[in-house]
Amino acid sequence: MVENRPLANILTHAVLILGVFFLCFPVWMALVASTHGPEAMARAPIPLWFGDQGLANYREILSGGVAHAGGVPVGKMMLNSLLMALGITFGKIAVSLLAAFAIVYFRFPFRMGFFWMIFVTLMLPVEVRILPTYDVMVKLGMLNTWSGLIVPLIASATATFLFRQFFLTIPDELVEAARIDRAGPMRFFWDILLPLSRTNIAAIFIILFIYGWNQYLWPLIITNDEDLYTVVMGISRMVNAGESRPVWHLIMATSVLAMLPPVLVVLAMQRLFVKGLVETEK
């Protein structure tokens, strides 16, 4: 720092601590609420410290689920979320790696046409064309299927652009050396391009995993089969459960579980995550 002012230092930390409090407090309350029984949720104010029902609550939702949300066990929904998230993540990475490879390392008719086709998908999130997309799913008979849940979300312009960007930074001489070393295109892809992309793949994996896990609207409209319910979308069924009052202690327990995997991924791979996020979008 340029100058040393004790007051400014205190102020800086005060701002940061307030920020941390603002961001952490809601989740703290969710954690606390998830350890109380229904009677604690019946009157204000709700407790600010942990209760003793935690274990029971989590056991209840993991195995039995919440009765008036269809009673799908949260464990089952978590597994579904995981499958969907991994499916989307791996699918996207595979599809965009190949597409970026083609666009950067080959010259072929309609190359730019393809490039722009992929590019425009950046512009229109699924939310804006939700009904016609649903219609297409009906026509293809993909409602209530795993492929319906995953495949449409696999085309990702973002990942394709990230990989394209990265491939362009790989020195030309490496391809040339590989060609002189008798490596064909696919061998070059496997032996050289993929190993070199490891860090980038890992970084984008985190971001795509979060994206996949947090999907809400898509599973909501594509599935009404309980076997395919995912946890993020399952929670909204608990909150808006019709006539009965929401069971907040269980909803909060479910919320905590639902946010746990992506939050853990971010915290555990913080450096990769930051790199992936900041470099992808810039």
Binding site: E3, A8, N9, T12, V15, L16, G19, L23, P26, M29, R43, A44, P45, V95, L98, A99, A102, Y105, F108, R111, F114, M117, M123, L124, V128, R129, I130, L131, P132, T133, D135, V136, P152, A155, T160, D172, V175, R179, P185, W213, N214, Y216, L217, V232, I235, S236, V239, N240, W248, S255, A258, M259, P262, V263, V265, V266, Q270, V274, L277, E281
Partner: protein, 293 residues
């Protein structure tokens, strides 16, 4: 744009882009085309027949007070979320950039909400602010604010604004921090030698240099507020009470899936697409400019 040397295989590149193009065609171009087309028809309630009506769906929308109101809600929501998020994130990033030693610790505690699904962010805040048992509404009551987002539309809108901003701060924080860290320290020192105090330095040196980041985040936040927050609103207020939190995307969904009005929903989709395309265009103008920096 491309490598100096490329492989000469003829069919392989098509096989490589194939999967992505196929998915894009089927799940992107086909539905988008359908939206464009259906926007020009009115379908009967059972979806058995439809009549070509030209631009009538659009005309109806522009004469529909509820739809126009959702425009207003969207823009207010978008601007409020964007402003709130960016102001808080910039303050936090500036502070984090100042503390050298604890920066990583603070960063860890500030970035994780990025991973929380918007729907979950909504549900948790919904719970915190719950009029009968939420802790925040209890505190508000103590200072004389009667909070009830089930009845009060303004409060409902405020609730979703806070929840949406809460989730988005982490993202903005990271970009502002990266932007701040890329400003050379020597520039700040030069300004200090030129007798600029910390506040003056911020507004005359740091903030202008952050312009590219700020502009980028502005567009990203608007897109986030317009589209990604659908799940947040749908999982909590569902657009209510009395359409007070019904943004354009919520309206598309409700018209289509709840109201079963295919033509109107498609017309709304088309309008939304036009908005996104316009925003993307603006973003690109800005990227072009940034290249010339």
């Amino acid at each position: 744009m491309q490598k100096r040397v490329t492989f000469n295989t003829k069919t392989l590149p098509y096989l490589l882009v194939g999967p992505q193009i196929a998915v894009t065609l089927v799940f992107f171009f086909w539905p988008s085309w359908q939206a464009l087309e259906s926007a020009l028809y009115i379908e009967d309630a059972f979806g058995l027949s439809r009549d070509f009506v030209g631009l009538r769906n659009f005309r109806d929308l522009l004469n529909d007070d509820v739809y126009l109101a959702s425009f207003g809600v969207s823009f207010f929501f978008g601007i409020a979320v964007t402003f709130l998020t960016m102001a808080l994130a910039l303050a936090l990033a500036s502070a984090a950039n100042r503390v050298l030693r604890a920066a990583t610790a603070y960063r860890t505690m500030l970035i994780w909400p990025y991973a929380v699904a918007p729907a979950l962010a909504g549900v948790i805040w919904y719970f915190l602010m719950n009029p009968s048992l939420g802790i925040a509404s209890y505190w508000l009551d103590a200072v004389g604010v009667d909070w009830n987002h089930y009845v009060n539309g303004d409060q409902a809108l405020l609730l979703v604004i806070i929840a949406a901003s809460w989730k988005q701060i982490s993202y903005n924080f990271l970009f502002f921090l990266a932007g701040l860290q890329s400003i050379p320290q020597s520039l700040i020192e030069a300004a200090a030698i030129d007798r600029a105090g910390p506040m003056r330095r911020f507004w005359t040196i740091i903030f202008p240099l952050l312009t590219p980041t700020t502009f980028f985040l502005l567009v990203v936040n608007l897109v986030y507020a317009f589209f990604d927050t659908f799940s947040l609103i749908h999982a909590t207020t569902q657009g209510g009470p009395a359409n007070a939190t019904s943004t354009l995307v919520v309206k598309v969904y409700q018209t289509g899936f709840v109201g079963q009005d295919y033509g109107s929903s498609a017309a709304q989709s088309v309008i939304l697409m036009a908005i996104v395309i316009a925003m993307t265009f603006v973003q690109f103008r800005y990227i072009d400019r940034r290249v010339n920096y």
